[in-house]
């Protein structure tokens, strides 16, 4: 099941490879079919998932069965390393409360990404090949339970992303693509070293061999005491935690490693922006929750405050930057940074409310930002500009568009009744109830104010009021005497068409529904999050030692 959902896009890619590159429509439809089937599979996994099982660590006796679900575990590679024993790499997939939400999110955003890719005209075959490879890598990352496998998927994302930004991107795409690539690789090579170090430090209790299994790594009793990352080597454990954290923080992206994000977003084509903001950023925080924190809980305990501070900086700094942007897409990109700050803050709170809020925020941010970028793409498609002050009074000419924009913008700023509100509220509840992050939370609340400011201000400038003198469109009087809008270099399309509605309506529905009744998603994660909090708590660590 999980193998199928992971490798389905690659299968689609192989089919595309056989299709001649002139058959663009077939290529698109094959990709869409794969994405839809993936979506169906995700729903089936969702239906079959038992939310009462925790995950994160193995249950007593060391067997992950019973705590993880949909497990697929095969020996992949067994390497004899002489006196170091043998290196065992497993093909080990499974889901728990952390990953199930992300699997659903990935399937959803991938499908919407394919729909949004209809506008890609250049080298369609190459585009969808890379797109499907990317989809596989993302899904693989979320379900991999072997560190080695995780790392392979993690790195596999980079190359397609590089080309997707680099070939189909905007004018400054070369710079943005290589910057993205270098930043992420910089983070992940450290992860490689930590991975090897962990491998030499952890023993699988069942086989007695060293292992890459993340499940075994999450239990502190499986560590060899005097190994390089064993409990006796506190110094190296700190170093490992920090470099691992930086590796994931680059992906989040956390201040001060965020500078690749605005460049990548501005240059990337719309569907890639959607994927990037909707799924890829989540991988950073998912990696923290899956790998970084449970593997080094005592270091996490010591660094909660710092993580919280960085979260607050992200929230406020991102909001300030967004406030200053003229480019609508850049504004949305910085708003992503700000919103990922809430996730970090929730994680730093290290209690059930905060962690749930963080995970829920990851899901909601995925859907909401996808919506935001799609909406930016819609207006860019028509006006060929994204400068906020080139618009004005659009609401009266594109009413449907303006309506959806309003929903998305309000969801983003956390209006009650929309999904963003619930997750932010949980994050703040968690952060206030934790003594570590109480004061950080107080400062972070300012972020909501600034968030409201930039979102409402842009809404007002673009959709309300009248046409400005240097606007990206002219007003002409039509044959029926009505004033009509006329963009420069216009392709004639005004309000949303069917395909765009097909992408946006589901997202709007999800946003509203999850804002009113969050349990379908939140119910999946509760047990796991509670267990994670337990694993990370000092009480638990005292028991182990």
């Amino acid at each position: 099941m999980l193998s199928l959902i992971v490798f389905l896009p690659v299968i689609a890619g192989l089919i595309i490879l056989a299709v001649p590159s002139s058959q663009k429509q077939i290529i698109r439809i094959v990709s869409l079919l794969a994405a839809v089937v993936q979506m169906v599979l995700a729903v089936m996994i969702w239906r079959g998932y038992d939310p009462s099982l925790a995950g994160i660590t193995a249950m007593a006796g060391g067997m992950p069965e019973g705590s993880f679900q949909f497990i697929e575990r095969l020996p992949w590679i067994s390497l004899d390393l002489g006196n170091m024993g043998s290196m065992n790499i497993e093909y080990f997939l499974g889901v728990d409360g952390l990953s199930i939400t992300m699997v659903i999110l990935t399937a959803l955003v991938s499908t919407i990404g394919v729909l949004s890719s209809w506008t890609i005209k250049k080298q369609v075959k190459g585009y969808f090949l890379l797109y499907n490879l990317l989809a596989t890598a993302m899904m693989g990352c979320f379900v991999a339970l072997d560190f080695f496998l995780f790392y392979v998927f993690w790195e596999l994302m980079l190359l397609p992303m590089y080309f997707l930004i680099g070939i189909w991107g905007g004018p400054n795409r070369e710079y943005a693509a290589i910057k993205f690539f270098l930043y992420t690789l910089f983070g992940s090579v450290f992860m490689l070293l930590v991975m090897i170090g962990l491998y030499f430090s952890v023993i699988d209790p069942l086989t007695g061999n060293h292992t890459f299994s993340l499940v075994a790594m999450a239990s502190q009793e499986n560590y060899i005491k005097d190994a390089i990352l064993g409990p006796d080597n506190a110094m190296w454990r700190y170093v490992a935690f920090i470099v691992l954290f930086i590796g994931f923080a680059i992906k989040v992206p956390m201040f001060p490693f965020h500078t690749w994000l605005p460049d990548a977003h501005v240059e990337a084509p719309t569907p890639i922006s959607v994927i990037l903001a909707g799924v890829l950023l989540k991988l950073g925080t998912y990696g923290m929750m899956r790998i970084n924190f449970p593997l080094f809980p005592e270091v996490f305990q010591a660094s909660m405050y710092v993580i919280g501070v960085f979260g607050a900086i992200n929230i406020i700094y991102g909001a300030f930057c967004a406030l200053a942007q003229q480019d609508l897409k850049k504004m949305v990109a910085y708003s992503s940074i700000s919103h990922m700050g809430y996730v970090l803050l929730g994680l730093a709170a290290a209690n059930s409310e905060g962690m749930t809020g963080a995970l829920y925020q990851m899901f909601n941010h995925g859907t909401i930002t996808a919506m935001l970028f799609l909406l930016v793409g819609v207006i860019y498609d028509r006006a060929h500009t994204r400068q906020i002050d080139k618009f004005g009074g659009l609401a009266s000419y594109m009413p449907v568009y303006a309506g959806i924009v309003t929903v998305a913008w309000f969801a983003s700023l956390g209006l009650p009744g929309l999904s963003g509100f619930i997750s932010e509220a949980f994050v703040f509840v968690g952060a206030f109830s934790s003594e570590t992050t109480r004061y950080i939370a107080m400062v972070s609340v300012l972020g909501i104010v600034f968030g409201a400011a930039y979102l409402l201000w842009s809404l007002q400038r673009m959709f309300l009021g009248k046409r400005k003198d240097d606007a990206a469109y002219d007003l002409v009087t039509g044959p029926d005497g009505q004033e009509q809008i006329h963009f420069h270099d216009w392709n004639g399309k005004l309000d949303l068409d069917g395909r765009e509605l097909a992408m946006l309506i589901p997202l709007v529905v999800i946003t509203i529904f999850l804002g009113i009744y969050p349990m379908p998603i939140m119910g999946l994660m509760t047990t796991t999050v509670n267990h994670l909090v337990e694993v990370l708590s000092p009480v638990m660590m005292a028991v182990v030692n």
Binding site: V152, E155, L159, F163, I178, F186, L192, I196
Partner: protein, 512 residues
């Protein structure tokens, strides 16, 4: 005064030689192949001569696999009075060098520049075989004299091969530079050998190690000797302070020879380096404290770090693809040295595995470079612009090979790096800083490697010409196979790593 040996003594010498011959069959076969190619060259006339010679070399080299495979059944041991050993380690390199010779021939057959530049191709193939013989002997030599002889056989063949385009000034310059640097470094190495001989009165590396272990040595002389010997080995592997020849030679030499030098010649250097330093001058064998606080291991560490940093940083500014790959090969020598530094079986295994992966990805990359230059007549980065849409398979393949050279999964190059870093970290915290430099420099390497796909895919061609360039069916197939292999072994590398582990058994190592 010398006395004539008695008849019985002579008989015993003869019988030792005779018994040694049984373990020397692949080398004898290759020598016969070498001479046979010269005779064939003299005998053949006509237009298809170069093709026939090439295929003959290819088949001939392929035939030697049979004789090498026979050797697995043989007992590891020394032959010819300790001149030459046969062990799994040597057999590994025999496969390696014969295969790389074959690959050089394949690339030569694909390279159209030879048709235009070269009038007489016969000696070329014979010299490729001669180099194979020399390298095979380097991997198996266990005596200082044999080491020197084998190295000179490789070097002399390589000098001629790198200058094979006589009318191309760059090619001639390459050969001359190679010759001058080669002469200097083999001179230095000989001096180092003579110091070792002066200390131990032995030329066999096993006996040298016993002598050093029994009687100790003067650390000052030892460090001088190893430094000088390192000059010779470092020149062969193209590691940092001895790398000066490599960019010019790699750029000027015919591309198949560049690939051949960058893979096979480097591997031969490592074969020698590993055997010599593991067996002859084991680390920490001295009963005396090192007064300088440095030993050859420190020298290797310095060489390795300098190579990684220098190679990867300088490559950033290169405009010529071959030159870029030359600097990258300096960096790869640095990564390989990391595996040597670990000084145990895991390290050797990692080095052997890395060599295998380097073989695959570097040859493959050069092969694509040859195909591209066949079509465009150029090797500069600017002329790679827009090639991605004209030669999509070549572009995709080259991208995969370069990604593998960077060391990203799921390619074989990633596993190579993984093995090297695993070997380093298996020593605990001791070598973490080396691993850190390794991974950081590989991030730098991403930048310049990606310049090639950047030009191929992200930029438009300077002369808008939408005609697609087809490199031919056979070449397409070859590229596809290499690309699949690079990824396949990145995912299922067990056979390769098992082979590497099995081959890390070096004769004489177990004596410690």
């Amino acid at each position: 005064m010398f006395e004539l040996p008695s008849g019985a003594e002579i008989q015993s010498i003869i019988s030792i030689l005779k018994s040694g011959l049984g373990f020397f069959i692949p080398e004898i076969y290759l020598s016969i192949l070498f001479m046979g190619l010269i005779i064939l060259d003299l005998a053949l006339k006509g237009r298809n001569k170069s093709g026939i010679l090439g295929w003959a070399t290819l088949i001939g080299l392929g035939g030697s696999f049979y004789f090498i495979a026979q050797q697995h059944a043989m007992q590891a041991g020394e032959h010819f009075f300790g001149m030459y050993v046969l062990d799994e380690y040597a057999i590994f390199f025999k496969y390696f060098f014969v295969a790389s010779g074959m690959f050089a021939v394949v690339a030569t057959l694909a390279d159209r520049k030879f048709d235009a530049e070269v009038k007489s191709i016969g000696e070329y193939y014979a010299l490729v075989v001669a180099m194979v013989i020399g390298m095979v002997m380097m991997a198996a030599a266990s005596d200082l004299l044999m080491i020197f002889l084998a190295m000179e056989l490789v070097s002399l063949s390589a000098y001629i091969l790198s200058g094979y385009f006589k009318r191309d000034a760059r090619s001639s310059e390459a050969a001359l530079k190679y010759l001058v640097y080669g002469a200097v470094s083999s001179g230095l190495m000989l001096y180092g050998f003579s110091l070792i001989y002066g200390m131990t009165a032995e030329t066999n590396i096993l006996k040298i190690s016993m002598e050093l272990a029994d009687h100790g040595y003067d650390p000052l002389v030892m460090i001088l000797a190893t430094l000088l010997i390192m000059a010779g080995f470092g020149y062969k592997i193209g590691a940092f302070p001895f790398h000066f020849w490599s960019p010019d030679v790699y750029e000027g030499a015919p591309t198949p020879i560049t690939a051949y030098l960058s893979v096979a010649s480097k591997a031969a250097g490592f074969a020698l380096l590993l055997r010599f330093f593991y067996i002859a001058v084991p680390h920490g064998v001295s009963p005396y404290e090192d007064i300088l606080g440095i030993d050859w291991l420190t020298l290797l560490v310095i060489m390795s770090v300098a190579s990684m940093i220098y190679g990867n940083v300088v490559a950033i500014w290169q405009k010529n693809v071959k030159r870029l790959l030359a600097y990258s090969s300096i960096a790869h020598a640095g990564y390989l040295l990391l595996g040597v530094i670990v000084m145990d079986e895991i390290g050797t295994q990692a080095v052997l595995f890395y060599l295998l992966s380097y073989f695959l990805m570097n040859y493959a990359a050069f092969y694509v470079v040859v195909l591209i230059s066949n079509r465009t007549g150029s090797e500069t980065l600017d002329d790679y612009r827009g090639l991605g849409s004209k030669m999509p398979l070549a572009g995709a393949a080259l991208t995969v090979f370069l990604i593998s050279l960077v060391g990203l999964p799921p390619t074989v190059g990633f596993i190579g790096k993984l093995m090297i870093f695993s070997a380093l970290l298996s020593k605990g915290a001791l070598y973490i800083w080396l691993a850190l430099i390794g991974v950081l420099t590989s991030v730098i390497s991403l930048y310049y490697y990606m310049l090639i796909p950047l030009n191929m895919f992200l930029r438009e061609s300077l002369e808008p010409n939408e005609k697609s360039l087809n490199p031919g069916f056979l070449a397409q197939l070859m590229m596809a196979v290499l690309m699949i292999l690079t990824i396949w072994f990145g995912l299922f590398f067990e056979p390769l790593s098992e082979f590497a582990r099995y081959s890390s058994a070096m004769f004489g190592l177990s004596l410690y």
